[in-house]
Subunit: 351 residues, 2 copies
């Protein structure tokens, strides 16, 4: 019998945002790896690639020419997962097991820069501010469409995350329903707010700032931290300090502070394994259903797959799919490692 040591003993942690647990096995980071290695592309990219369907002036799959855009550029996904068609539908309530509903929506692609070879950590803060403003515009425009109740802004970065084009870009899938993961968060935020009249993340950020150990970066308006309940080895979350329910409520100062922390966090990520660090990121914010959402608190998730090096990722497979998410390194350790990374991008370091 020994006393519980959270840094050494297997344990479960609770995620109050989605009401689920994660299994943490700190001691397991030591096991040797004999499995699959990812391939990393080290070729340096041209500023403009004539073959890239996202570069300014080039032709897309549907024959349309991209404009000679100077900042960001948004277009409707040529192979959208959602369609705008209005569908007539009568629910068949007899079906206990075969419950289905048409879903109306719009999928867009957001090019972050005309430059084919730049990613967020290598862009100027002012360029990132432009991306944030583009996200604000899209959240407003899409959110204003009557049948759109949720706008999911996200980025898949790196081929290991299913990204098929290195040109810096993200996506937006806007739709009628609250997607499953968002609905879980919505319910948690709502019940916390109803009880405490403060947002869950307002109080959580305060508790984390006090605890210090999981903070990666902090500025006047935002915090980047490894959540206590993080699943992915180097998962982080950017949270606003103020209770802001949506990106369109940012002050000009907050837009700039957010752009800064985005750059700083992604620099640390790239420096971790001296590679263009892959991840999926996404913004969670208030639904666009026309109601006020004081319970919602703007945050952005980063789910990066890498575990040990630029080529060894964490596999979320058998146990994780059937049982629950499992991690080998503690969030505190990950935060410490990220914090220690230089603030200058490795490509810009004089050797």
């Amino acid at each position: 019998m020994k006393n519980f040591d959270i840094n050494e003993d297997p344990h479960r942690r609770f995620n109050p945002l989605i009401n689920e647990w994660v299994l943490v096995s700190p001691h397991r980071a030591k096991r040797p790896w004999q499995g699959q290695n990812e391939t990393i592309s080290t070729e340096s990219l041209p500023k403009h690639d004539p073959e890239c369907y996202l570069c300014p002036g080039n032709v897309r799959a549907n024959g349309v020419h991209n404009p000679a855009y100077k900042n960001s550029f948004v277009f409707d996904n040529d192979f959208a997962a959602l369609k705008q068609d209005e569908i007539i539908f009568e629910e068949d309530i007899k079906h206990t097991f075969f419950k289905a509903k048409p879903e109306q929506g719009i999928s867009r692609v957001v090019c972050f820069s005309p430059r084919h070879d730049l990613t967020l950590p290598e862009m100027e803060v002012s360029d990132i501010e432009n991306i944030v403003k583009t996200w604000q515009k899209e959240y407003t425009d899409l959110g204003n469409i009557k049948y759109i109740n949720h706008v999911q802004i996200f980025e898949n970065k790196g081929s290991v995350m299913g990204c098929s084009n290195p040109h810096p870009h993200g996506q937006i899938w806007a739709q009628s329903s609250l997607p499953t993961q968002v609905e879980k968060t919505h319910n948690s935020l709502k019940s916390y707010y109803d009880k405490n009249r403060r947002t869950l993340l307002e109080d959580y950020v305060q508790a984390e700032l006090k605890a210090e150990v999981r903070i990666v970066i902090e500025n006047e308006h935002f915090v980047a931290l490894v959540p206590f309940w993080a699943i992915w080895p180097y998962e982080t979350m950017i949270v606003s300090k103020r209770a802001i329910s949506k990106i369109t409520d940012f002050t000009a100062e907050e837009v700039s502070a957010y752009a800064k922390i985005l750059k700083q966090l992604t620099i640390k990520y790239d420096n971790l394994f001296n590679t263009s660090f892959p991840y999926s990121s996404g913004i969670h914010q208030a639904p666009t259903d026309g109601f006020d959402h004081p319970e919602w608190h703007f945050h952005m998730h980063f789910y990066p797959p890498l575990l040990r090096s630029a080529t060894v990722k964490k596999f979320m497979v058998g146990y994780e799919m059937m049982g629950e998410s499992q991690r080998d390194i503690t969030p505190e350790k990950s935060a410490e490692i990220l914090r220690q990374q230089a603030d200058v991008h490795y490509k810009n370091t004089v050797k």
Copy 2:
């Protein structure tokens, strides 16, 4: 305005086992793929590999020699995610955000065969019966340990599923708590049973047998089908026709019928892309908490990543992680394609 066509229009389907939705985009199967390709190993394996730590007689990482086993062989994982140590722990209820609990458990490895080069579809039915009997024994032995309330039997197959050794093997993680995914299923099964006095899957299987379109294989005691709410392109589920709560309740005939359907399903999988088909599979069955579980109904999930070919997988990334699971091909279409696969393994087909 057009009428809803479930084979053509984007829609959401409901999964009553875990109370979550999935987004289905049937039209999207047509989009071209320019992203990452998986590498497939086509080298033929030796019957015994002197370098393999799972082969009979060989030495493992901890210096122990494997016995000269003839059927299956079980040992405690040398790099276990769970540990058996009893931990003293006083819950700190002040912590709203930092909720953690030690977790006690045992991780085991189950070698399916002494042969390094065989996978389930290539084994004899009698060999697979032996594996089933091994699972029964482990479920009993581990379940009988006082602090073990759940026994998760699973297999990661293929390097794309994080499997680091082609020697046919699965794992068992047994622990105190019901893991997150199992708890969701438990709650759904329980509330259905409390209301209907029949198991949810008993009624679901009947409805599927009547509908026919999602059935892949059927024998006297088991059905292999693509669930109406499947997430992965070729996801399937093997369900017992009878309401059996756990693998130790199988009759001798059921053991044999289960071994047969396991072989038949994995043959169809291998034949789909003429490759050793990767997947994670896992058995969901009654908790081992000492109580009766009439609500539980034995089933086995198969989550295979491949989408279009032996090298192109479905990426569950940005939208799927932030929003909800999304699929491009309908479950009905997948079931049809799987059904059409030959019943003889492609390696044994005379060309």
